[in-house]
Structures are given as structure tokens and as C-alpha cells.
Symmetry: D3
Subunit: 192 residues, 6 copies
């Protein structure tokens, strides 16, 4: 796998994103866990759906950020959140920069700029995408639990999964989600 020199080459490689599973779900035994491409679609849809409630948003910019935010995983795979604490600070970010340069080839400039904005998490658009990235995670947890998965309590308990980045409508959705679909008050089963 080398640098993609043409738009066509990079488009073909990105088809692979369908096969990259979201590792946080893999490691909890969720059957047929979502792919990075699926996650990406839901985040973009959330940005669109919630964005209408956010004053002063540049929707196009937010959608662009959403579309590129996980692209590096087409070469690195998805590193589960639980694993990030084992890496030196900045190691993942440095790797992402390298992947962007090689995978996105002719689009690396535009995409790299969007990625930098996402990481900085300062602009309204970047903050909305970051918030939707977390919101999508918890929505998917709720969906998997509804379908029968168990053992996903850690997702509900980790405050880092509820970071709304000061976007009011996202905060409201988080609260409604926890109230209606959060884990039952007490674990009824022994030791599980």
C-alpha cells in the first residue's frame, strides 16, 4: 500500500472502510458490529439532523469535517478508545497525519486542514462533529442493547462518552437517551 496518486485510486481504497470494524464493539462481543463507514454515515446524518437546531452553524463545513474525521482508519484500523491510553501522547495523531498524506493523495491538503480543525475542537463546526461522534456511540449502544447485546455498561458509565462540547441540542439528546434507554438502575444478574 503506497501513496494514492490519483483520485480513482483513493476512491477504490476507501471502499475498504466497510470492512473496518469499530473495535470498541468487537471487544465486547457485539455480533456484526458496525463498520467505520457506517459510523461515519451516522455521524454525518446526526450533524445534519441536529445542525438545524444550532445557531450560526456552517453546515457544509461541519459535514466536510464529519466525512473525513475517521479516514485514517482505512490503513490503521480502528484503535479502541480503551487502548489509546497505552500510546504515548500524540502517537495516534502523528500516525493519522502520515496516513492522510498517503491515502488521500491529491485530496490530502483539503482533508488535512479539516482534520486539524477537528482535532483543535475550537470551531463550532468541529465541536458539533466531536459531540455527534460521541452521541452516535451511545445511540448505537442503545440499539445493540435493544437487540439483545449485554455487557455494554462501561459505555454508559464513562463520562468521556457524553461530551457534548457545549452544544445545547446534543446535551438534550444525551439526557433523553440516558433517561429512556440508560442501563437499568441495578444489575439484576449475579456477577454479570
Amino acid at each position: 500500500m503506497k501513496r494514492n496518486e490519483t483520485l480513482l485510486e483513493l476512491l477504490l481504497e476507501l471502499q475498504t472502510l466497510d470492512r473496518v470494524p469499530r473495535m470498541g464493539f468487537v471487544l465486547r462481543g457485539v455480533p456484526e458490529p458496525e463498520s467505520v463507514a457506517e459510523h461515519g454515515w451516522h455521524v454525518a446524518f446526526l450533524v445534519w439532523a441536529v445542525g438545524a437546531r444550532v445557531d450560526g452553524l456552517d453546515l457544509a463545513r461541519a459535514l466536510e469535517i464529519a466525512l473525513v474525521h475517521d479516514l485514517a482508519e482505512v490503513r490503521t484500523g480502528d484503535i479502541p478508545l480503551v487502548a489509546s491510553r497505552y500510546y504515548a501522547e500524540g502517537a495516534k495523531e502523528e500516525a493519522e497525519r502520515g496516513v492522510f498524506e498517503e491515502v488521500l493523495g491529491p485530496l490530502a491538503g483539503r482533508a488535512g486542514e479539516l482534520l486539524a480543525e477537528y482535532r483543535a475542537a475550537e470551531s463550532l463546526e468541529a465541536r458539533l462533529v466531536k459531540a455527534c461522534d460521541k452521541l452516535q456511540l451511545i445511540l448505537k449502544v442503545a440499539a445493540y442493547e435493544r437487540w439483545g447485546s449485554r455487557g455494554l455498561g462501561e459505555f454508559w458509565e464513562n463520562p468521556g462518552n457524553f461530551k457534548d462540547y457545549r452544544i445545547g441540542p446534543v446535551r438534550e439528546l444525551f439526557e433523553e437517551l440516558r433517561a429512556k434507554h440508560g442501563p437499568p438502575p441495578e444489575p439484576a444478574e449475579r456477577g454479570r
Copy 2:
């Protein structure tokens, strides 16, 4: 399954889009075929990637259309192209309208408008999404063939899969794709 009355309800139901397979690939025996959510991500990414080469494009509008264009499949499933000729004209469109109303609930107005624009295929934005919808299909066919799938020749032979809707940069990608990844000149194997 009823009408979703809240944003949260509809967001939860849409998680299901990960499980709806693209039937054209299912019916040709492709293992682990892409989901409608995955297809949707790739179409949106294409709109972004190709859009930079299209003069006068309203990128936000085009991305919005891309995000909603297949949403009805969360209730109907994906009806393969091959099957559409068995339905009375307009039957699929009528069904889509009904689904939008019930699934999208509070967002049905905005989404329905985008869907209508997509179907009319007149605006530059709608034409770009339609063209990318086809381009993504052929990109995925090329990816599956690279991975080992066979028996996908019909996709290359169907002129309806190469409709560029008068968008120059898409036409160029179609031509490059066919030239570099199209089916071999002659089927070498007997009867297959």
C-alpha cells in the same frame, strides 16, 4: 413500527440502516455485501471529493441530498434495480414518500423536500448525487472483483449504471474506471 414522534426515536431507528444489505450484491453472491449506510457514506464522500471540481455547486445542499437519498430503505429494505421493472411506475416513489413521513417524523418536511429534488434530477446538486450514486456502485463492483468476486459482469454491461448526469468530472472517473478496472476483454472460462 409506527411514526417516530421525536428526534431521538428516529435516530435510534436509523441505526438499523447498518443491517440493510444492498440487494444487487446479495443476489450475486457477494460475501459480506455493503449496507445501505455504507453505500450512503461513500456517496457522500464522492460528492465531497468530486464536488471540488464542479463549478457553481452548493456543496451543503448536495451533501444533504446524499444523506437522505436512500433513507426509506430502513423500512422497505433495498429493492434491487433488477426488480424495479416489475413494479408499476411510481410504486417505489409512492412507498418512499410514505416511509419518509413515518420514519423521519419531525424531520419529514426537510427530508421530503430534498428527496423530491433528488428525484426531479434537475438541479446541479441532485444531478451530482445521482451521478455519484452510480459511480459508487461501479467503484464497489471493481473493489469486489479485486477481492475475488466473480459474476458481476452485468454491472459493467448495463449502460444505466454509467449515467453521469452531465457532470464532467464524473464522466472522466467512469472512463478511467472502465479503462483500468473494467472486465477482461473476453471471458476466459467456459460458460461462466
Copy 3:
């Protein structure tokens, strides 16, 4: 995909029925949901198993109806019951007639006659197959719940899934099934 002109061609195409998933289960997140071919086998087996308790049944005829009743899905995919209300009346039936003609080719006459009898739902044989089609659905729901799936309550609550078409032994099985494997009296979990 064209009209199958020979028996061999149609037999080969029908192998695809293994890959067509039953959409009602897909849309509720059941992992590895049954295929249309699997459903077909169980319905035929039910006809045989229950048929022995049904006076005056022409078993061969009933089995023939069972074998063809879902064949059109090899081209249309399985349209989930939830979606049928979005289609104009008769749209699905018309599509099925078109598919039968093209897929079944040399067998289209015999099969079309059986399909018409199935739809009319008047003969004892057609009524038994219709009843077994529903009974199999609920048996599969019960099996999936036993294996860990959740969120399938709608199937138990929909009276249309318990249509016994006036076949006594099927009614008894429905009642026993609900009594022994029906959903617990009250949903213990919040909001799910």
C-alpha cells in the same frame, strides 16, 4: 438478469435464495437472520408435520404451494411486512407475477397456478400454507428470543401474525406457543 429459458438456468439462479435475508428480522437487529430458503424449508416441514392432523388435505398440493410461495423474492428481495402498507394495493402481487414469468421460465405455468391458489387463500391447502407461514414466523421469533435476541415484542403483539386460517391444529400450536414462550407479562427494563 433475464428470463430463464432452461430448467438448468432457473435452478442455478434459485441457489441465490440462500442469501436473501428475511427483512423483518434484519430490521430488528437479529444476527445471522434466516434466509428465504430457510423459511421455505420450515414452512414445508410444518405443512408436513401439521398436515397429518388435518382431515381431507391433499398433502402433495399443499407442499407444492409451500415450495413456490416466496419464490419471487429471488429477484425482489424480501419486502418486510411493515413495508407492505406503503405500497399501493396489488403492487406486490403484480411484481410477483412478473418475476414468476421471468425466473421460472419453463415452470412458470405450473408455479403461477400454485401462487394464484395461495393468494386466493380459499382451498384447504392454500389456507394451511398461509397459516404455517405465520406459525413459522412466531416459532422463529421464539427461537431467537431463546438465543438472546430482544426487541421482538412487536411480532407477538401483531394479531396479523397469528392468523390460523381456520385450521384447528395450527390454532392449538399458536396458543401453546404463546402460553409457553410468549413475552414476559411485563417488560422489566426501562424504556426497552
Copy 4:
């Protein structure tokens, strides 16, 4: 797993047949290989489709035999043909009798009689089912090869997979299948 004492219990256990893979395909690396239930459906359909060309056939009897012929695999799993030579003669048959008694419970009598007829392979009906059991195997091999599977040459080379049991129309289908879809005259790739 004990003896099923009621019809309902046995019907529920048989749903498991969807998950029992056909081992001959598993051992050749076919992705998403057919289940025993899927195989069963195709054999029954073949009996119906070919049966119309067979003089003097009792169709109901043949379909009954087709429906029960592999039922024991719901407890034993599918033992691949390649493995049968490692077992003492009659070991598999004896095991099948034991399973029928326990799984089929109230239906064990009827089903056991059909199984005995199948094994004896003397009646026209039993011979047709045996022939269709082999024909289905080769049809599926041809379908998998069309979809991209390789390394299935052994199925074409094993004369035991083309046993037509003196049923003319089956013989013709075997010949047509081999002529049109048989393996290419010479393996083009080195060592594979």
C-alpha cells in the same frame, strides 16, 4: 437436549437447522456456506421441478422423503462426505436412528419409515431424492464458482457426486451442468 415430547418442542428445535453448515463447503473455505435447511429446501424444490418429468412418481411421497432426509443433522451436525470413510460401516445410520427417535418424538414413527425408505434407495421416490441430493450439491458448487469460490474441483471429479440413480431427467441435468459449468479444461494457475 432430551427427547422432544411434544410437536411444539420439536418444531422449536428444528429452527436450529438454519445454523448447521454443510461441512463439505466449510472445509473448502466457501464464505457463508449453505445451511442444512437451505440444502433441504433446494432438494425439495428439485424433486418438484424434476418430478414432473418422471413417469409414475408419487410426488407427495418423494417430497416427504426429501423433507426428512437430513433431519438428524440438527443434533449431529453435518458430517462431510470426506469423513464418512473414517467411520465404521453403519455407524452414521445407527446414529441417525437414535437422533430421529429423540428429536422427532411424536413424529418419529412416520419420519423413521421415510428415512428407511430413503436409505434403501429402491423405490422410485427414494431414488429421485437421492439423485436430487447429489444434483443440488453440484448446482451449488457451480453457483459458488460463479460467485468467485475456487478450489472446488474435487466435487466435479468425484464420480460419487453424479449418481443419478437411474432417473433420466436427472442424468440430463448432470450432463448439461458439466458441459456448461464444469471446471475449465486445464487449471491455468500454478499449483492451485
Copy 5:
């Protein structure tokens, strides 16, 4: 499939062990059940992990036994425990000997000796592997239940699944496992 005459041939065939599912889990509807290769890895790891607590153990010998103990399944598939009572005594053992001779080819001598020691279950090493084979089963059951599978109670109730073969540290793990992860005291759901 013939006798493997070279080391390379047998190594290639053994790659297939990844696709052979553990049938006990298949028959209880566990999604994506473990393969025989996965089971083999866990048993070997257990031998290593627990072995440090077992006085006088020849670790190399125990690991060798663990590595070969299920190899025959690369041709026979995994026969679920529930099915073994349908076979005549010694039928499975005889089949395994035949498979070892053909699959392992140049290694059949060494491997056959290890298999014989395993079956005799007299040496400390063989007893440890047998105990770990059961312990791994129950660990996997506990993992599947944690992930959402249900209907696995039979595994906990079968005393044959808790045979520690007089190895103290295994007995302790069994007890801790049952105490912390065993099935809830009473089945809360009706009829399931």
C-alpha cells in the same frame, strides 16, 4: 482429500480449522461461534496459565497434547457432545485414528502418540489438558452470556462439563466461575 504426503500440504490443510465451528454453540444459536482453532488456542493458553500452579508438570508435553487434541476435526467437523451418545462406543475414536493417519502424514506418528496419551487420560499432562478442555468450554459459555446469549443453561447443568481430572487449580477455577458467573438462581422468564 487424500493423505498429505508433505509437511507443507498438511500445514495448508490445517488452515481450514479456522472455519470449523464448535457445534455445541452452533446448536444453541450463538452468533459467530468460536472455531476449533480458537478453542485450541484457549486450551493451550489455559494449560500454560494454570500449569504454573501444577507440581511436577512437563509443560512441553502438556502443550503438545493440547495442540493435537482436536486435529481430527479438520476432516470430520466438530461432533457436538450431545451427539456422541448416538454413536457406537469407540466409533469417534476409530475415526480420529484414521484422520490422523491421512491428515498429519509425516507427523502422524508423533501426533498419534500424543492423541493416545490424551485419550488414556492417565498422565498428569493428559489429565490437565482434559480438564482445561472443559474449563475453556465453561469460560466461553460465561463470555457468551455476558455478551447477550441466552439458552446456555444446559452447559452449567451438565456435571460432565466440570470434570477437573483431579487437578486442584482447575477445580478452584471451576468453583470461582460458577460462583461469580453461574446462571441466576431461578429462571425469571416464562418457559424459556
Copy 6:
């Protein structure tokens, strides 16, 4: 996910290794790619099979190294080889040390020592495991190609995948593998 304080806890977590896919295969579209647990089994088996031909080998030590060499992936997932060049030198190694400490808990000491020996790649045992790790990769590539996968040429072309670490019998297997199963001399298909 925290530090496992007991042997039982760590054994339960390791069951997850069945679900961690080998990313190099995922990124090339291999259906149902091997898991890290499956890879681990094959490497251990290779060490056993080839080890008999290696003079002066401490088999127990080599098997121990094989069993622990990829354990960190139960928290980090498998980082594909292609991605390692994007990480700062030593980043992966540092992460592995952190994971070992937390996952292996009471066994972290023993396991960490084996991992250090593996990385140093100086002892005969460590060199054999490293060589078998590569050999297994190419064996699996050859198996997947035999089953129908395409687009795996990069594995054959990367000299880093044929590092025999000065173990004669491994070198011989590599040579035989390439001679008998290597890619065909010239790619026959256009652009693929």
C-alpha cells in the same frame, strides 16, 4: 476495562481474542478473515511441527513465547503491518508493555519476560517463533487464494514476509511454498 486482578478475570477477557480480526486480511477484503486467536493457534502448531527439525530447541520455551506473542491485541486490536510505519519507533512496543501489565495481571511478570525475549529475537526460540509468525501469514495467504481471494499479491512481494530468522527448515518451507503456491508469473487480468 481495568487491570485484571485475578486469573479468572483475565481468562474471561482473553475469550475476546476470537473476535479480533487480523487487519491485514480485513483491509484486502478477505471474507471471514482469521482472528488473532486462530493465528496464534497456527503459529504454535507450526512451532511444534517445525521444531522437531530444529536442533537444540527448548520446545516448551518456544511454545510459551508463541502463546503470548500477540496477547496485547486483546485491547489494542491488530494493527496492520502497513500501518506500523506511521507510528513513531517503539510506540507499539510501549503500548504492548502497558497492555500486558493490565490484561495479564497476575501473569504479567512471566508473560512480559517472554514478550521481551520475543522482541529481542536473539534466542533460538524467539527466532523460531518470529519465523513461524511470518510463515503462518504466507500459508494463510496461499489458503485464501486457493479459496478464491484475489488481490493478495502484496504479501508475496514483501520480502519482510519471508524472514526466516536463520532457521533452515523454515527457509525450506518458504521456498517450497513460493514454488508451488506463489502468484502466477504474470497477472492475466487487466488492471487487477
